[in-house]
Symmetry: C2
Subunit: 481 residues, 2 copies
């Protein structure tokens, strides 16, 4: 059996849902369907999850929520009407959401989770009803009934290991199951949502639990690309990549599948197939176990992201001071600064964090604490940094890829702030100035993917703020409802 997951854009309206249904029905092995909440129908549109967050805020702040509620209900009602499903479904959805609103006395976080989860939950009901109407033996599966139990530890949501045993029973059902993504339940029966890439995680967990032959993840791009289409025109598609490569990509926060969505399938060795709902003939990208047989230097893609800040802390003879680095990490933990990369050298600790992790006040407080508590000699802060990653399972075992990349960057006089390669990881990291990031991606792409052709290199800064790599999926830190 296969687990198939559809993202929000694949379920944004009746037209999209029809495409999804056709895909589902096209293969009898597709037995578990995981759904997101309806996404945007056009670029200025709003996702149902965003409408639900607005609704929850109105409730929490005691404002009149009729308009916000109507905004949500009308999306479902319109879909139901256009799909020609029995009209009672929209009333049921309205009743469900109103019932949730009545729990506004709950702690804020729990109430928000309860309301946000309504997006996926009701979408699953709707899709199940539509599939039934098409003559399928479809059923909506409630995550609580199925046993998807979650817990929250230090602000991070985890699946309770016993869930896998419970969820594996889904194999025995004969129906076509429609399962809402993005949330599960605490042992006390309260809704808990995943923080990032929500529905992708649900799909991966279910695929692992039922030991699926394949986990299909339908989105709105033909494949994962070797570089961001916002920087490289018509970048090469990636046909096959390893879990490790996907992990490097997603772990770096560069969109595509979140690392938490890769892990469950990876552990069971279940292949993941990224596909396009709008172009189902395309084979998409396969994420599989082991080597992918790429030629040296075996780069699978180039990821890039702007908006980083690097801090360099220097203290002479630092290494003779027991606990200096540990105390520094303690300050960062206490101040709630999460860094992405950190290196400790001779008398220097450098770390790179997303600018969104800090603000001027927080940064000032951290700098002050490092000076006063750790007696650092010097702290340098460099803003407007970009991180470029070359990804490929074996590239960090030799210096070939790094050499080629450095040469290409040097030829264009790009100032490279940091280079980091480690055999334990399947990537090489370069830090450059934000204004040179697009150019860096271009020269690297040309060097590794376009030997013979030349692409236009323009040192002019790209105005695009939307600088995500690979495919236009949810970036890290955004809630996918």
């Amino acid at each position: 059996m296969k687990v198939i997951k559809f993202g929000g854009s694949s379920l944004a309206d009746a037209k999209q849902i029809k495409k999804a249904a056709e895909i589902i029905c096209d293969d009898r092995e597709r037995r578990i369907v995981v759904v997101s909440a309806p996404g945007k129908r056009y670029s200025q549109d709003r996702k149902v999850t965003d409408l639900l967050i607005e609704l929850a805020c109105d409730c929490l702040e005691g404002r009149d929520c009729v308009r916000a509620l109507e905004g949500v209900i009308s999306r479902y009602r319109q879909i139901a009407e256009e799909l020609g499903i029995r009209s009672s479904i929209a009333d049921e959805i309205e009743g469900d959401i109103k019932h949730r609103i009545s729990s506004a006395h709950l702690p804020e976080k729990k109430f928000l989770d309860l309301i946000k989860a309504a997006g996926e939950d009701n979408c699953a009901r709707l899709i199940a009803a539509y599939l039934c109407q098409k003559g399928e033996n479809a059923e909506y599966v409630n995550p609580k009934d199925a046993g998807l139990m979650l817990c929250e530890e230090e602000g991070h949501v985890k699946i309770l290991p016993s869930s896998y045993e419970a969820l594996s029973k889904l194999k025995e059902r004969k129906s076509l199951m429609v399962f809402p993504g993005f949330f599960g339940y605490s042992p006390e029966g309260e809704v808990i949502t995943f923080p990032r890439g929500g529905s992708d995680i649900t799909g991966s967990i279910l695929a692992a639990a039922v030991n699926a032959a394949l986990y299909e993840n339908f989105t709105d791009v033909d494949s994962v690309f070797a570089a961001s289409p916002s920087v490289i025109r018509n970048p090469a598609p990636i046909r096959t990549m390893s879990y490790e490569e996907m992990r490097e990509l997603s772990g770096a926060g560069f969109g595509v599948l979140h690392e938490e969505a890769v892990a469950p399938a990876w552990r069971k060795g279940i292949p993941i197939n990224i596909r396009n709902t709008n172009n189902p003939k395309e084979p998409g990208t396969m994420i599989v176990s082991g080597k992918c047989g790429r030629n040296h230097p075996g780069i699978v893609g180039i990821a890039a992201e702007k908006g980083f800040v690097t801090m360099h802390v220097t203290k002479s003879l630092m290494k003779y001071e027991t606990g200096f680095e540990r105390n520094l990490l303690g300050i960062l933990d206490e101040e709630g600064l999460t860094y992405d990369y950190l290196t400790i050298g001779i008398d220097n600790v450098s770390f790179t964090a997303r600018a969104s992790e800090t603000n001027a006040e927080k940064r000032e407080r951290i700098v002050k604490r490092i000076y006063t508590e750790l007696k650092a000699d010097k702290i340098e802060i460099e803003n407007n940094r970009a991180v470029i990653m070359l990804i490929g399972q074996d590239i960090a075992r030799y210096a070939e890829a790094a050499g080629k990349a450095c040469d290409a960057l040097t030829a264009e006089k790009i100032s490279v702030k940091m280079v980091n390669q480690n055999t334990a990881e399947g990537s090489i990291l370069f830090e450059v100035e934000e204004k040179e990031a697009d150019l860096a991606v271009k020269v690297l792409y040309r060097s590794f993917f376009q030997k013979k052709e030349r692409i236009c290199l323009n040192r002019r800064n790209s105005n695009s703020r939307d600088f995500r790599a690979f495919c236009t999926k949810t970036p890290r830190g955004t809630v996918e409802g």
Copy 2:
């Protein structure tokens, strides 16, 4: 005025001391002479400091110490005789050392410090007497009288800031001062020795205190070299380098001046000149402030050292766990493992330590703790690693040097385990397998220093265990007495 320091090999016997005296008298600006204890006269010889340590151990363990005492005294007596100094000096030295032995009731560490310091202290008395005999207005200066006050914090010896004020008064003396290196006094009047590069540190402190025009450090090599003569035949001498470059070198533990010996002079901007007692016509190596006007990519040298171990700790979703890295550093601190380099990436922490820092038992304990306390997924240990460093003040601002180095290593199919470049440091680090380290140095040397010539590249493993870079000075961790 200039501060001039002589190492142990420059004062090993009468012949060497005569050379040193000639150098001292050759320039009237040389007003403060810092001396080490007499070193080896030939390769199988023993340093006076080693003889003193043996003597101290005999005393502490209650053994008869007549033979060990005689070993020390005879070295001084022979030097005095050959220099033709008044014979009472040897008796005075004998009296001094016997007096020190009578303090065997002191705590072990204090007693050892007291005995070890006898090497420099008496050498200074001897040199002062010899210079007087040559007609100089020379005087032995006692570090306690001069005000060189030290303290020990967490096992690390530091100078008390008030010392500089006291030592600055030496400027007012009209004599030629002979100052013993390697030790100072606690405020309670007890001898404290520097742990590493002892006399070099004393010289640097004195140069800073009297605001010397130059700090001359006389040793037994013509200059610092661009690579180790044990790997590269006739490596290029380094004429000028910056403090930062020297710091990178010494901070990495690659012999030459210890970083603590660079810091005091650096802070006051006093140039350091490394010279050869046996070839004083050679200009040696100047270590100065600021840029050294090297051409791109501006490599000053290649340092290499074998005997490292790298551990890679992997834990999926590590970054969502507050304190994981901090707790890992806590385990390393508790187990007393000092690492040289550490990087934290997506879900991986890798650190490189000297193999001498660990043994199988310690390593096993650390691995066990990381698995049980931190629930790591995987720990990989890689033994027999070598660290190669390209050093140059500005090389880490661009990728040119890194690219050239990676290309050169790739051409010889050298497996590169780690690459680390950070603008905050003036070096680029490569980790390779120990058996490929010599080859790596050769290809890098050829690439950066020998464009036109070819050197013999031999993949065969060098048998030399003595793989220190640049010049044959005291390696890190060794006591220079």
